[in-house]
Amino acid sequence: MNKANKTALIPYSLWILLFVIAPIALVGYYSLLDLEGNFSLINYQTFFSSIYLKMTLSSFWYAFLVTLFTLVVSYPTAYLLTKMRHKQLWLLLIIIPSWINLLLKTYAFIGTFGLSGPINAVIKLFGLPEQQILFTDISFVFVAVYIFIPFMILPIFNSLDKLNPTLIDAARDLGASPITTFRRVILPLTMDGVKSGIQVVFIPALSLFMITRLIAGNRVITLGTAIEQQFLVTQNWGMGSTIAVFLIIFMVIIMLITGQKSKGGRVR
C-alpha cells in the first residue's frame, strides 16, 4: 500500500498517545505522590507493609481458585461441545449469557443466594438449618466462575475444533489409552487455547471489584477492590495508583507466561 495510507495513522497514533501511553504514565507519576502532592516513595513503602502484601496474596489466591474452577468446568464442556452435531449453534448458546449485562447476572445471585432464596429452600428441604451463603468467599468464587465460564470455553473450543481428529485416531490405533491420548495428544495441542483462557480469566479475576462488593460484602478484597477504594472512597489517588502499578506488573508477568509466540501480522 502507499504513502497516503500513512496519514491514516495520524488519528490512531494520537489515540495511542492519549489513551494508552499517557494514562499509564500518569498512573506511574501519581504512584510517586503522597497525599499532599509531594514526591515520595511512601506509597511503595505502604504497599510492602504486611496489610497490603496479605491482601495481594489473598487476591492472587482467589484469582487462582476462580481460574482453576473455571478451567475444570470449561474444558470438558468445550470438549463435549466439539462433539455435538450443531456445535456452532450450541457454542452460541453458551456465549449468549456472557452478553447479558454483568451487573444483572450478579444481581441474580443476590436473590438466589439470599436467606430465603431457592438454594436455601433446597437446604431446608433436607432438614438442615438455613445457611448464610451471601457475603461469604464461597459465593464470591462461585459467581466469578459463573461469569467467566463462557470466556474460558471460547478459546478452548476453538483450539479443540482446530485439532486434527486423525491424530486422535492415530494415537488410539497405536494403543494409547483414552487417558494417555488426552494427556499426550489432546492437551498439549490445545494448550494455546487453555493459556488464552487462563489469561482472559486470571487478570480480570485479580481486579474484580463489583462482585466483591455485591456478593462478598467486604469479605473478599481483591487488588481491584483496593484500587476502587483508594480512588473513589478514600480519595488517595497516590496509593490507588501504586496498587495499579503493581497490578499492571502482575498483568505483564501473566501475559508473558501465558503468551503465544506467533502474534502480529504476517509479512508481505
Partner: protein, 265 residues
C-alpha cells in the same frame, strides 16, 4: 461421529442449566406481584410499567444507548483508519510495537482503565459526565475494532489495489470502492463488538462518570447495593429480550454475508 454418552449429556445439560438458571430466575420474578424474589404471589406486569413510568430510568436508558451508538460509531472510524495505517507500515518492528500498544487496553483490567482515565480527565480538565464517559468508551473500543478489521486487510490481495490503480482509480476511490467493501465484514464485527463493550461496561463508567450522569450498569449497581428491587428484574427481562434479538439478528446478518461471499467465490 460417535454419539455422546449419557453422562456427557448430563454434564452438558447441567452446565447449560447453571448458565441460564440465574437469568431465567430474574426474569421469572419480574412478573411477581409480591415484592421479593422468593415467593411468587401472582402474575403482574406492574414492574415493567414501573420501568416505563420512571422518567429518570428512561433517561438513563437513553443515555446508555446514545453513548453506545456514538462510541461504537466513532471508535469504528478511528479503528478502521488505525488498521489501514498499521498495514501500510512496511517496518515490521513498528507494526508490532503499534499492535502491542493496541492490545494494552484490551488486556488491561477495567479498574486500571477507569482509574487512569479518571486521572487523565482530571488533568486535562474534562468535566466528568456525558463527555468523559463517551470519550472513555470510544477509547477502550478502538483496539477491538482494529483487531476485527486487521485480519481482513491482511488477507486482502494487494493486486486488487494495484489493479484499481492501473485502471486509474484515485486514492479516494481505492479506499471507498475497493478496500472498504472488502473489509466490510470486519468493520461490521468491530462495530458490533464496540457496541456490546459499551453497553456492558460498568467499571470504567463507574470511575469516570460524574454525579449527574449515569448509565444502566452504574444505575443497576446502586439499585442492587440498596437491596432487591423487582424493577431491576423487569429491566433484566427487557435486556434479555433485546440481547437475544441482537444476537440472533447479528448471527443472521453474518451468515447472510458469508453466503454472499461463498456464492461470489
Amino acid at each position: 461421529m460417535k454419539k455422546l454418552s449419557l453422562s456427557a449429556k448430563f454434564y452438558l445439560a447441567f452446565v447449560f442449566i447453571v448458565l441460564y438458571a440465574p437469568i431465567f430466575y430474574l426474569v421469572f420474578y419480574s412478573f411477581n406481584s409480591g415484592g421479593t424474589m422468593n415467593k411468587f404471589d401472582s402474575f403482574t406486569l406492574e414492574h415493567y410499567a414501573a420501568v416505563f413510568e420512571d422518567k429518570r430510568l428512561l433517561v438513563i436508558l437513553i443515555n446508555t444507548v446514545v453513548v453506545a451508538l456514538l462510541s461504537a460509531l466513532i471508535s469504528t472510524i478511528l479503528g478502521v483508519f488505525g488498521a489501514i495505517g498499521i498495514v501500510s507500515l512496511r517496518n515490521m518492528r513498528m507494526r508490532n510495537i503499534l499492535l502491542s500498544l493496541n492490545n494494552v487496553l484490551i488486556v488491561s483490567p477495567d479498574v486500571i482503565i477507569g482509574a487512569s482515565f479518571l486521572i487523565l480527565f482530571t488533568m486535562i480538565g474534562i468535566k466528568l459526565g456525558f463527555f468523559s464517559v463517551l470519550i472513555a468508551h470510544i477509547a477502550f473500543s478502538v483496539p477491538i475494532v482494529v483487531l476485527m478489521v486487521l485480519p481482513k486487510l491482511l488477507e486482502m490481495n494487494t493486486s486488487l489495489i494495484d489493479a484499481a490503480q492501473d485502471l486509474g482509480a484515485s486514492k479516494r476511490d481505492i479506499l471507498t470502492r475497493v478496500i472498504l467493501p472488502y473489509i466490510q465484514p470486519g468493520i461490521f464485527a468491530g462495530f458490533f463488538l464496540a457496541l456490546t463493550y459499551s453497553l456492558d461496561d460498568f467499571a470504567v463508567t463507574f470511575f469516570v462518570t460524574g454525579n449527574g450522569f449515569s448509565t444502566l450498569s452504574v444505575e443497576i449497581y446502586s439499585m442492587a447495593r440498596a437491596g432487591v428491587s423487582l424493577t431491576v428484574n423487569a429491566i433484566s427481562g427487557l435486556v434479555f429480550v433485546v440481547t437475544i434479538l441482537v444476537v440472533v439478528g447479528y448471527y443472521f446478518v453474518v451468515n447472510r454475508n458469508k453466503g454472499k461471499v461463498d456464492k461470489s467465490a
